[in-house]
Amino acid sequence: MIKNILEFEKPIIDLESKIDEMRKYEDNLDIKDEIEKLENKVYLLKKSIYDNLTRWQRVQLARHPERPYTLDYIYRVFDDFLELHGDRLYKDDKAIVAGFARLGEHKVMLIGHQKGRDTKSNLYRNFGMPNPEGYRKALRLMKMAEKFNVPVITMLDTPGAYPGLEAEKNGQAEAIARNLLVMSALKVPIIVCIIGEGASGGALGIGIGDRILMLENTWYSVIAPESCSSILWRSWDYKEQAAEALKLTAPDLLEQGIIDRIVPEPLGGAHKNPDEMGIILKKVLTEELENLLKIKADKLVKDRLNKFGAMGVFEE
């Protein structure tokens, strides 16, 4: 746990390791009292830090190297998973995982971005940056889900669609556009959950749905703060300002009417307690799914059109 510590996590980690040290002498009553006091202090410190995170700090949490990814939720949230591969055209993209899953008593089609945990797995997963074949795999499986009347759950966590030669050659833009078109008229419920980074079109490419959820410490916007900084400020140094300006956190997006619900994370972030995060997420997804299953397909599609139709601010 000690290897990946964010700057603002440090005072907490310091106190926690102090407590761990003291636990060795827990038999001693005085120390027990002392531990209790320190634990209380840690709790208050955490509260004060995590209740006052800046937008940039949230971005850092969303990218925390220990944060749970799509595959980490599978056995915490779902009771079964059968992974399905390939776009049936030419390739299987490892940056998007997909397959049938069971959420309690409900069958679902689960589709999510997948990052790697270390250099090797990151190269395998292309750092969670899909190529066209990833979007086309998602498309194929969403259409199949529609055919067999299975609801879709997507998990978004990507630094962006991959900007590479092959990706352009094979129609990255067309692949994303096609998904937007098909998802907006898909005749089964779709729940979208941002579990980490929601970077631009690469995220939106599997991000159209009836209910859009965001975990508490995630971000979703048209561009990453660093890229925004480099373009608008002409320097990489204004990422904090860019994050503030973009208003890209879950509370921001709820206020903007772009997402429907914030899913609370364990204190300190999802990576501090993935099991608890899984329990919370399972409860929320089940509740959302059961509500959507009551709605007829035609109404779902109509509501979805109106939902995205209402997004935007302009003067007439």
């Binding site: 669609a161 991959y162 900007p163 590479g164 030669l165 990706a167 352009e168 050659k169 094979n170 129609g171 990255q172 833009a173 067309e174 994303i176 556009a177 096609r178 937007l180 078109l181 098909v182 907006s184 008229a185 631009s200 079109g201 939106l204 490419g205 991000g207 159209i208 979703y220 916007s221 048209v222 561009i223 890229s227 925004c228 480099s230 373009i231 608008l232 400020w233 002409r234 204004y238 300002q241 860019a242 300006a245 973009l246 208003k247 890209l248 997006l253 903007q256 772009i258 979805r304 059109l305 995205f308 139709g309 997004m311 935007g312 601010v313 302009f314 003067e315 007439e316």
Partner: protein
């Protein structure tokens, strides 16, 4: 997303040089031919010597494509709000205000109805000169209403794209315009109303990744830059120079993403042909 980079770093001379300079005489930046402005205009702003296509805006495309005087603009004065109170080196609302006064346009797309050889169409055309043709709430909303017009009036839809992508000063709102326009196009497709998408230089980012790539027919002008990621970003990612002609119209045609490429002079006649083939009769 990519348009600022392109302007700032001047990485794409073929994009920069496309603008028509002021003055009576214009030098073709491709072949250096000196052309009289009137001659250029009668030639659809294409160099008579080398066929170089100068970048033009919605006003010019309306004249080139639609029957004279047939265009009826809708939602002309719709203006951007500043939903995030966005400030970078300059506040977004003053950027908008100065662009409006500089260009005489209210935002980066003009929409309305018009006729092509007597055939009624819903017609939208973007303007690169308005903040890089970037797509924010106004572009999204105006296009959504244009698509609705095609849908309710049952007339073919034509959109000319010319855009660096989503407008980052509107954050997630601009991203959602991709969703908004695509959802409307899904309904239009369901109703079997034809949509012809025309790509001009440049069409990149969120614009390409939504309505621009969703036409029943997708056509492009010669040698336009068309892609998802901007060339500079790709170059940075792969750490190599890009191959000659990468992300050009011809590249997209070769890779199967365009129905055809057409010279600007033939755009109108091609559209007449297409509208006839795609119409129920």
């Amino acid at each position: 997303m990519a348009w600022f980079k392109r302007i700032k770093q001047n990485i794409s001379p073929d994009t920069q040089k496309s603008e028509i300079p002021d003055g009576q005489w214009v030098k073709c930046t491709n072949c250096n031919e000196i052309i009289h402005r009137k001659q250029l205009e009668t030639n659809s702003f294409v160099c008579p010597k080398c066929d170089f296509h100068f970048r033009i805006g919605s006003e010019e495309y309306i004249k080139i494509i639609l029957d004279h005087g047939s265009f009826k603009e809708i939602n002309k004065t719709m203006k951007s709000g500043d939903p995030l109170n966005f400030v970078d080196t300059k506040p977004y609302n003053s950027r908008i205000a100065s662009t409006i006064s500089k260009t005489g346009l209210f935002d980066a797309v003009k929409t309305g109805s018009g006729k092509i050889e007597g055939r009624r169409v819903a017609f939208g055309c973007m303007d690169f000169k308005f903040i890089g043709g970037s797509m924010g709430s106004v572009v999204g909303e105006k296009l959504a209403r244009l698509i609705d017009k095609a849908y309710t009036s049952k007339i073919p839809l034509i959109i000319i794209s010319q855009s660096g992508g989503a407008r980052m000063m509107e954050g997630a709102y601009s991203l959602m315009q991709m969703a908004k326009t695509s959802a409307r196009l899904a309904r239009l497709a369901e109703a079997k109303i034809p949509y012809i998408s025309i790509l001009t230089d440049p069409t990149t980012g969120g614009t390409t990744a939504s309505y621009a790539m969703l036409g029943d027919i997708i056509i492009a002008e010669p040698n336009a830059l068309i892609g998802f990621a901007g060339p500079r970003v790709i170059k940075q990612t792969i750490g190599k120079d890009l191959p000659e002609g990468f992300q050009s119209s011809e590249f997209l045609l070769e890779n199967g993403f365009l129905d055809f490429i057409t010279e600007r002079k033939e755009l109108r006649s091609k559209l007449v042909q297409l509208v006839d083939y795609l119409s129920n009769s």
